[in-house]
């Protein structure tokens, strides 16, 4: 054990108890890290319990497929032996009769009918009709003949393929449907027929509308933020309050106010007509224009604030120096000032874009059916048709798309350069 107080040049630095300084330092660092980890542990736990776990378990619902497996267990087992082309053999028919009696007594017929009706329209009433007629008395020699006689749909392989497709507790059905695809009778993935295809369009529309809102917001916010920074404090504070005031008002109130202002007999149209600019009212609401106006209005503060806070930190002397060195004022702005605001612009754009993607109430109230974004359909499936598989599939895809966009964005702009203020 060395106890020398003076370090020797060919030996590593050590502390008084002889441990190399490097190790000691690392140990102290580790302690510090553990302490800080312990400090953020409550927050991490909170996030895990209230954010990650619920969202994760909800997303799992988009592949959940419990109905057929739970209600028709022996049918699912028996149908494995079927070739999938002609009609299934007698044991399958016998199994389905037994399963349906049990499902009726357990009252699971409703859920089962709902699930299978998504695969083949009319399945719900077929199950109801069959369950009402069961059990056959006396027991028939052939359940196959008896069931087909009861309803000829039992003689159609398509109805059996629907059961076979759902013989596992997980299904790609909802996720595929959310991108306008389905598994066909032969088990291949194909595009849905054009008259049922909708979600790819809706996703494209969601991203397009969000991009437009982001660009308009940026064009409006940048000069305004610049004005706010360059005005004397008293005036800029007043302006800032005017920016923030609507920010503190309920979204619903602002949307309702826009309807009043923009409708065909509304303030803006009557003003335009009184001024003789148009002779008939312009269609400003219940279409894309109305949605853009209201969304930009609501999201503008999210663009102004980050840009403003970044501009606030830029010294005006740089610009003056550039001009005094002979640069054109615009060139100076573009080459010297603008690059310093990119972090704020980036943060503002990201914020506005991501908020726009999830917009629901504004398009729902101010738009026509072809202005609705993905969230509208999430709400539709959650509340109206109570098809949570479809709702979570759409929501999950939206979340995934947002994450991919964020990654692309941070690759391009650099997440480290974002400044939210």
């Amino acid at each position: 054990m060395m106890a020398s107080s003076a370090p020797m040049p060919d030996h590593p630095l050590t502390t008084q108890d002889g441990v190399p300084l490097k190790t000691k330092l690392a140990r102290a660092e580790r302690m510090n890290k553990l302490k800080s980890l312990a400090l953020v542990l409550p927050l991490a736990l909170f996030l895990l319990l209230t954010f990650v776990v619920p969202i994760g378990s909800l997303l799992l619902r988009s592949v959940d497929n419990p109905e057929v497996v739970a209600s028709l267990p022996s049918t699912v087992k028996a149908i494995g032996a079927w070739d999938g082309k002609s009609l299934p053999p007698e044991p399958v028919y016998r199994a389905v009769a037994a399963d349906l009696i049990k499902a009726r007594d357990d009252q699971t017929l409703g859920d089962l009918g709902k699930r299978l009706n998504m695969e083949v329209a009319g399945y719900r009433s077929l199950l109801g009709k069959t369950a009402r007629a069961l059990p056959f008395d006396p027991a028939p020699a052939s359940y196959k003949d008896a069931l087909v006689k009861l309803d000829e749909r039992w003689g159609d392989p398509a109805y059996w393929q629907a059961i076979r497709r759902n013989g596992s507790a997980h299904t790609p059905f909802y996720l595929l449907a959310a991108v306008d695809h389905r598994v066909d009778d032969l088990g291949d993935i194909t595009a849905t027929t054009p008259d049922q295809a909708i979600y790819l369009d809706v996703f494209a529309r969601t991203f397009w509308m969000s991009a437009v809102v982001t660009v308009i917001s940026l064009l409006l916010a940048y000069p305004l933020a610049y004005l706010l920074v360059s005005l004397p404090t008293r005036k800029s504070n007043l302006l800032m309050i005017m920016v923030l005031l609507p920010f503190w008002t309920s979204v619903l109130v602002r949307v309702a106010a826009w309807i009043v202002l923009l409708q065909s007999g509304g303030l803006i149209n009557s003003a335009l007509m009184a001024l003789g600019i148009t002779d008939h009212p312009l269609q400003l609401v219940f279409n894309r224009v109305g949605v853009y106006i209201a969304m930009v209005h609501i999201l503008l503060p999210f663009m102004i604030l980050p840009i403003y806070s970044v501009m606030k930190g830029i010294s005006p002397t740089y610009l003056r120096a550039a001009v005094s060195l002979g640069s054109h004022p615009f060139g100076a702005f573009w080459k010297v000032y603008f690059p310093q605001t990119v972090a704020g612009v980036g943060a503002g754009c990201l914020l506005v874009f991501i908020l726009s993607i999830g917009y629901y109430i504004t398009p729902a109230l101010l738009g026509s059916p072809n202005d609705q974004m993905v969230s509208y359909f999430v709400a539709f499936y959650t509340n109206t048709t109570i098809n949570w598989g479809m709702a979570t599939a759409l929501g999950g895809l939206l979340l995934a798309a947002t994450m991919v966009l964020y990654m692309v964005y941070s690759k391009l702009v650099g997440a480290g350069r974002l400044r939210l203020g």
């Binding site: 719900r124 009433s125 109801g128 049922q196 295809a197 007999g265």
Partner: protein, 344 residues
């Protein structure tokens, strides 16, 4: 008052309450103006006649509550107002008692479709063509006129959804009311309905809540709209000149049902029988613009009042009964196709 007297009073009171509780009949409805009319026509008179106190409650049609009660065998609701889709589903799932019509009345007295296995119609409501008589010079007479944008310029209101809208499109295309569901059950019929809707698409303003059509009509945003007849009658009462064209209207019932395992089944039957009597249904229809489900009530109602009800013979003549079974089977695929069509 000494403590013992107080206690005695409380005890007697409790005994009284206990007795009353055992006899009370709990009737659950959707509330609003509809419940007020029910109290006047059914709850109060029933108490007078039978001595059974009716406790009125409200719910929003959520079957989850009924299911929980039936599953745990703790049914505290005795009679329940349900809409047709829930009635059919609940009957399949075993939530409701199968009704014994010998305890209710003659099945043949009811409007066709009102006497179901698990429920009996309370009243008839209708989705029909409504228009603002102040804005249109000539009155439209059918869904064909609804499509005629030359003769009746202006926007039209339709419900944003496949239900009702597809039926209307087919009727406008010349399908007879009684054949509407037969045609709609074929792929060619669905194509035909959407093709017809294509023609009108630029002039349609969609509504989602029942309160919107009378608003749109009154403000002049639309000149015609599909609408629930009760809403139009309310607006009419408030002095707006809104009129209903009954030709091609689609009617449906709200029904009474008894949750399975109700401890008060006998009283529940008595109440339903009482509420199905024509003289009581007459009082109900005088208080709200919904038609009686018992045909015998029709001649008792004043001719002028009757003209506003969906069950007047002249209004029923070319009306369609909404086919709940059809929508249970084809609803999802048609709504999906409708959404795809509307968002293009």
């Amino acid at each position: 008052m000494s403590t013992s007297v107080k206690l005695a009073v409380v005890a007697v009171g409790l005994a009284f309450v206990g007795q009353a509780m055992a006899k009370d009949l709990t009737v659950i409805s959707f509330g609003g103006a509809n419940k007020a009319a029910q109290v006047k026509a059914y709850y109060d008179p029933f108490k007078k006649v039978s001595g059974i106190n009716v406790v009125g409650g409200e719910y929003n049609g959520e079957m989850a509550k009924v299911k929980a009660m039936v599953d745990t065998k703790s049914v505290s609701w005795d009679v329940l107002e349900v809409e047709s889709p829930e009635l059919a589903r609940g009957c399949d799932e075993g939530l409701f008692e199968k009704l014994d019509y010998s305890k209710i009345g003659n099945k043949a007295d009811f409007v066709p479709g009102a006497a179901q296995q698990c429920g009996v119609g309370i009243f008839v409501w209708s989705t029909a063509l409504a228009y603002n008589a102040d804005k249109l010079k000539t009155a439209p007479t059918s869904w064909k006129d609804f499509w005629d944008v030359k003769k009746f310029p202006g926007k039209r209101g339709l419900r944003k959804g496949a239900k009702y809208t597809l039926e209307i499109a087919l009727m406008a295309d010349g399908v007879a009311p009684k054949d509407v569901y037969k045609v709609l059950a074929t792929p060619a019929g669905v194509d035909r309905a959407f093709k017809k809707l294509d023609q009108l698409k630029p002039s349609i303003q969609w509504w989602e809540a029942g309160a919107q059509p009378p608003q749109y009509l009154a403000s002049g945003d639309v000149v015609m709209s599909s609408a629930y007849n009760g809403r139009i009658a309310d607006a009419h009462k408030e002095g707006k000149n809104l009129k209903v064209v009954w030709n091609g209207g689609m009617y449906d019932f709200d029904s009474w049902a008894i949750p399975k395992g109700s401890p008060n089944k006998d009283a529940a039957y008595k109440f339903i029988a009482f509420a199905s009597k024509p003289e009581n249904q007459k009082v109900y229809s005088q208080n709200i613009a919904y038609g009686p489900s018992n045909k015998l009530a029709v001649p008792m109602i004043d001719k002028k009042e009757m003209a506003e009800l969906p069950t007047a013979p002249q209004n029923m003549k070319d009306a369609v009964k909404v086919d709940v079974g059809f929508w249970a089977d084809y609803g999802e695929s048609l709504e999906q196709r409708f959404n795809a069509w509307a968002s293009k």
